[in-house]
């Protein structure tokens, strides 16, 4: 059946949809399509949302894992002729993935450490070759953990800068249909997981990435921290993994490339926090960082859980206290705390406030949330790696207060989501959930307001519910979608081809529901760059970040086609778009969604004139 009036993907190309929208697209659909497609059923009243400022009535935010912009779009050449800043356009690599004329800009250096954590480190000279990549965090197709030995698929004499992963380990074949068995088989192409933690990433980037040449040295010397099982100063179990990239010119990630050609991407969208999953997901839901507290009042965490990135005596750069089972908090208002002063100096030099409140210990790395999925409070203590319930406002409670519907769908949250996994892997529910559910990337489970109010908590659902809601047209106004671990694209236990398959599946389902698709925007991104190299400028927004660029697609009938947006954005930009579209105020006095939109410098569109500033994503749309 053709239903032109509601096929707005074609409509958007035909009609000049540039007037300012104060009503929902549903109104338009009636006006435009009244005669063309009158038989289209009206959507149930329950899914109608408050009036929107744009035609977008449904925003779907899909958050995968751990790719930088250059890691994925290294050699992307926009079909539209748009400009892009990546490894190829800067001459760092050639289209065939080999070192380009300006390779030296990304050649990695060794540093001369001092007695304390430092960001201004003297360089000792370039690596001759990258240390051989390791199998850190890699699982095999039977989901067994491999030992973090050298990954012999890669040579020992890689050039000392970016290298094309898929020259040595082929890009997996498309996983169609996206079954668990297909995903598992593709894991034979998984590769090592670089460190991606707060103090490491500050050191790797120096804050603004002006001299991006310490990605490997920091990874190799600090690793993921000694407070992890199996780590030792003698062997932090890391090699040259950070410098790996995929090559779209060689056919890698063809679907992700096609999405970029057809819709809009940003080449200046950033992870909000230096480091990893937990803090970045938290920022996606709050534009802020979690705080150690007792019943809402800031408190001092167990000493063993406070970061100390000063090097252990006798080591080059192996932090004294760092890792999942140790340091994760930092009291960043206090310059005498380990690791804090060098970062505050960078902020001072740029005239940027820290956003650190006195006496607050902020969580800058991964811990599990203070509630479990059943709503039980989780115990705290020096040997319990959990952060307390959070009292900060989240986008979820803000939307509910405004009467705007929302849900957060995470893969593996419930038994229905895990039925295939339990059967295929012959695992209990708990064991299957352990493999698939992203418990450091489910920030609303940390929120007291969400977890103690049944009408909010019931909106935390699984992917089976997402499929039902898409098919039935019952999708809420704002949804967040987090894939299962194996589909997340995270190196080690997933691959980019798996995330590709997941996106294809969800995007395809939305596009198959034409009334839904006609007024929907899908934002796809990653939580953070996973510690992979990126060449892009980083805006120092506050003590916590930003971090390197990560990919972002806007997939919508209203996306600018083939557009590569250079306006500076980070995860707070998603919240700014939501707040613009549904007329919400910023979440709190201190949250980053208060930052202004960038004033662009025509000479360098990547750096806001009015820093710190982050956009609201509207520049990727054509309304």
């Amino acid at each position: 059946m053709t239903c032109l009036g509601l096929n707005t993907e074609s409509l958007s190309g035909l009609l000049p949809l540039r007037h300012r929208w104060v009503r929902g697209l549903a109104t338009l659909a009636v006006v435009v399509s009244g005669t063309v497609c009158a038989a289209q059923p009206a959507r149930p009243a329950s899914t109608r949302s408050a009036a929107t400022a744009t035609p977008i009535e449904h925003l779907i935010v899909i958050v995968g894992e751990n790719q930088t912009f250059d890691g994925l779009f290294a050699t992307y050449v926009p079909k539209s002729g748009a400009t892009v800043r990546n490894l190829l356009s800067q001459g760092i690599v050639n289209a065939d993935g080999s070192p380009g004329p300006h390779y030296a800009r990304a050649v990695q250096q060794r540093a001369q450490p001092g007695p304390h954590y430092a960001l201004q480190l003297a360089r000792k000279g370039a690596y001759v070759h990258l240390p051989q990549p390791r199998l850190a965090g890699v699982i095999d197709p039977q989901l067994r953990d491999l030992r973090p030995m050298g990954d012999t698929r890669f040579p020992e004499d890689l050039a000392p800068g970016p290298f094309q992963i898929t020259r040595y380990v082929p890009y997996a074949k498309a996983i169609v249909p996206p079954t668990l068995a297909g995903t598992m088989a593709a894991l034979s192409t998984s590769t090592g997981d670089p460190p991606h933690r707060f103090f490491q990433m500050w050191q790797q980037t120096g804050g603004d990435n002006a001299q991006p040449d310490l990605y490997v040295w920091v990874a190799e010397k600090a690793g993921i921290g000694g407070d992890n099982d199996g780590m030792s100063p003698q062997d932090p179990q890391q090699g040259g993994e950070p410098m790996g990239f995929l090559n779209m010119q060689a056919g890698d990630a063809a679907y992700l490339r096609a999405l970029a050609d057809r819709y809009a991407i940003s080449d200046n969208y950033h992870q909000s926090i230096m480091g990893g999953t937990g803090a970045n997901f938290y920022a996606i839901s709050t534009a802020d960082a979690a705080v150690f507290n007792v019943e809402g009042k800031p408190a001092v965490p167990p000493e063993s859980q406070i970061e100390n990135p000063d090097p252990l005596p006798g080591t080059e750069n192996y932090y004294q206290r760092d890792g999942f089972q140790g340091g994760s908090y930092v009291n960043c208002a206090d310059a005498s705390q380990p690791g804090v002063a060098p970062i505050l100096q960078v902020l001072a030099a740029k005239g940027v406030p820290s956003r650190c409140d006195p006496g607050n210990y902020y969580l800058v790395n991964n811990y599990a949330a203070g509630y479990d999925l059943d709503g039980h409070l989780q115990p705290l203590g020096p040997d319990n790696f959990v952060y307390p319930p959070q009292y900060q406002p989240t986008i979820a409670d803000a939307l509910s207060a405004r009467g705007v519907s929302w849900k957060w769908y995470t893969g593996g949250r419930d038994a229905q989501d895990l039925a295939e996994d339990m059967k295929t892997l012959r695992l209990s529910f708990a064991a299957a959930q352990g493999k698939q559910y992203n418990f450091t990337g489910d920030p609303l489970v940390a929120s007291k307001a969400v977890m103690t109010r049944p009408e909010l908590r019931s909106r935390l659902q699984g992917l089976a519910a997402l499929r039902r809601d898409i098919a039935s047209g019952e999708l809420p106004a704002v949804t967040f979608v987090v894939p299962k671990g194996l589909d997340s694209g995270h190196p080690g236990y997933s691959i980019v081809a798996s995330y590709e398959a997941f996106l294809r599946d969800v995007i395809g389902a939305v596009q198959a529901n034409k009334p839904l698709w006609s007024h929907t925007a899908i934002i796809a991104t990653t939580d953070e760059g996973g510690g992979f190299f990126d060449s892009g400028y980083i805006q120092v927004v506050d003590f916590f970040g930003d971090g390197p660029r990560v990919p972002l697609w806007v997939i919508s009938p209203y996306a600018k086609r083939g557009h590569v947006d250079h306006v500076y954005h980070d995860h707070a930009s998603i919240l700014k778009f939501i707040e613009y579209n549904w007329q919400l105020p910023p979440l709190s006095q201190r949250s980053r969604d208060n930052l202004p939109n960038p004033e662009m410098n025509p000479a360098d569109p990547y750096r806001p004139l009015n820093s710190p500033a982050v956009g609201d994503l509207r520049t990727l749309f054509d309304f």
Partner: protein
């Protein structure tokens, strides 16, 4: 084979195990007096050390039976075997989900932690009062009785000096300070964490293990063989800590019922660990019934009775249980009308809680054993390297 080579093979990192002998704090010295004081029991004949024998790694004395007897007349039987008090330093508080670092950056190990075999005490301070007040152990009827006994000790003045600043102490304050002193004693005195086993010396590169012990270590670790290290980690942990040989996790192993435990004379009685009867806050959580905490295997060779109910009496028997339970159930469970009655220490409706997914518990009837008889002996030889030197 050189020790260093094997360490590399197994992914074992060098660990720092040296425990610097610093002088005990005043509280710890007081805790030492309390620990050995029989006058703190209703019987007047039982101290902490009576059941947690310092000469036997602070587990039950070698001469004791499967359970200890307490109460005012020392005629009340305990319910479970006595756990060792060694190597409890990094026990987490009891949690339904124990998150640790792993291949996925972090992983959820399920229910874990807490003190006592059912994890019902959050820390050593809280734990210390449980035996003191338990009617089948030291049997102080209440805090007031215990405080009275504390006030009658010859070292009571030490309490006043340490905690009273010259002022009198209320009963509950006094008892709480006694618990704190017992905690300090266990945390500070190297006797509770000597790391003096042959295996510790092997990790430090100071001695080599025999060929049989090394074979046993490999079988202990190998996921396709013993897979013991899955719950009893043998390698250094976070922060380079020496291996504790426990991950503090809870499991229902389906250990056969032990008729030697007096409480089991009552056929309808079942000791269900996490969901009771001693622990009371999880009684409704049926999926936890039969779960007991994984103990450290350090000094396991010194135990006369193994498992929470003491059903095994030799190390070989305990190891064989893991490889025979579901393959040869008739060796382990009573026969009823020709068939064996598996997991007979759990009510029928709770037997689904028994762990059958972790190797070697996932080996089925008719399959070859995960460990043959000689390999069981090798694992036993390795376990004997975990005994601390005297």
């Amino acid at each position: 084979m050189r020790a260093g080579h094997l360490l590399g093979l197994l992914g074992v990192m060098m660990v720092h195990t040296a425990v610097l002998a610093e002088p005990l704090s005043g509280a710890a010295r007081l805790g030492s007096l309390l620990f050995h004081d029989r006058s703190l029991s209703a019987s007047g004949r039982q101290s902490c050390a009576s059941c947690h024998d310092p000469s036997n790694a602070f587990a039950a004395p070698r001469t004791a039976g499967v359970v200890m007897y307490g109460g005012p007349a020392l005629d009340q039987p305990g319910l479970r075997t006595v756990p060792s008090l060694r190597y409890l330093d990094h026990t987490p508080r009891f949690t339904r989900h124990y998150y640790v670092s792993g291949a996925r950056e972090s992983e959820d190990r399920g229910p874990a932690g807490g003190f006592m075999r059912d994890g019902r005490a959050d820390n050593l301070r809280a734990q210390a009062l449980l035996p003191l007040l338990d009617p089948v152990e030291m049997a102080n009827g209440n805090v007031a009785q215990l405080a009275r006994r504390l006030r009658a000790t010859p070292y009571f003045n030490e309490f006043l000096q340490l905690y009273g600043a010259g002022k009198p102490l209320a009963d509950d304050e006094l008892v709480d300070h006694a618990a704190g002193a017992l905690e300090r004693y266990q945390l500070e005195d190297p006797a509770f964490h000597p790391y003096s086993s042959r295996y510790d010396q092997f990790l430090a590169g100071k001695l080599e293990l025999s060929a049989q012990e090394l074979r046993g270590l490999r079988l202990f670790v190998d996921p396709a063989k013993g897979n013991c290290a899955e719950c009893h980690p043998h390698a250094s942990g976070a922060g380079g800590r020496a291996p504790a040989f426990t991950d503090f996790s809870f499991h229902a192993l389906g250990v056969p019922r032990n008729p030697g435990i007096p409480a089991n004379e009552e056929r309808q009685f079942f000791d269900l660990g996490l969901c009771g009867p001693r622990r009371r806050d999880l009684q409704g959580e049926r999926n936890y019934c039969g779960f007991f905490k994984t103990p450290s295997l350090r000094n396991v060779a010194r135990r006369r009775f193994l498992f929470h109910n003491g059903r095994a009496t030799t190390l070989a028997e305990a190891v064989r249980f893991y490889v025979e339970r579901d393959r040869l159930p008739t060796l382990w469970y009573p026969r009823v009308v020709g068939a064996s009655l598996p997991y007979d220490d759990l009510p029928v409706d709770l037997r689904g809680n028994v762990n059958s997914s972790d190797a070697p518990f996932n080996w089925r009837a008719g399959e070859p054993p995960a460990l043959d008889a000689a390999e069981v002996e090798d694992v036993v030889a390795f376990l004997q390297t975990l005994s601390d030197s005297h």
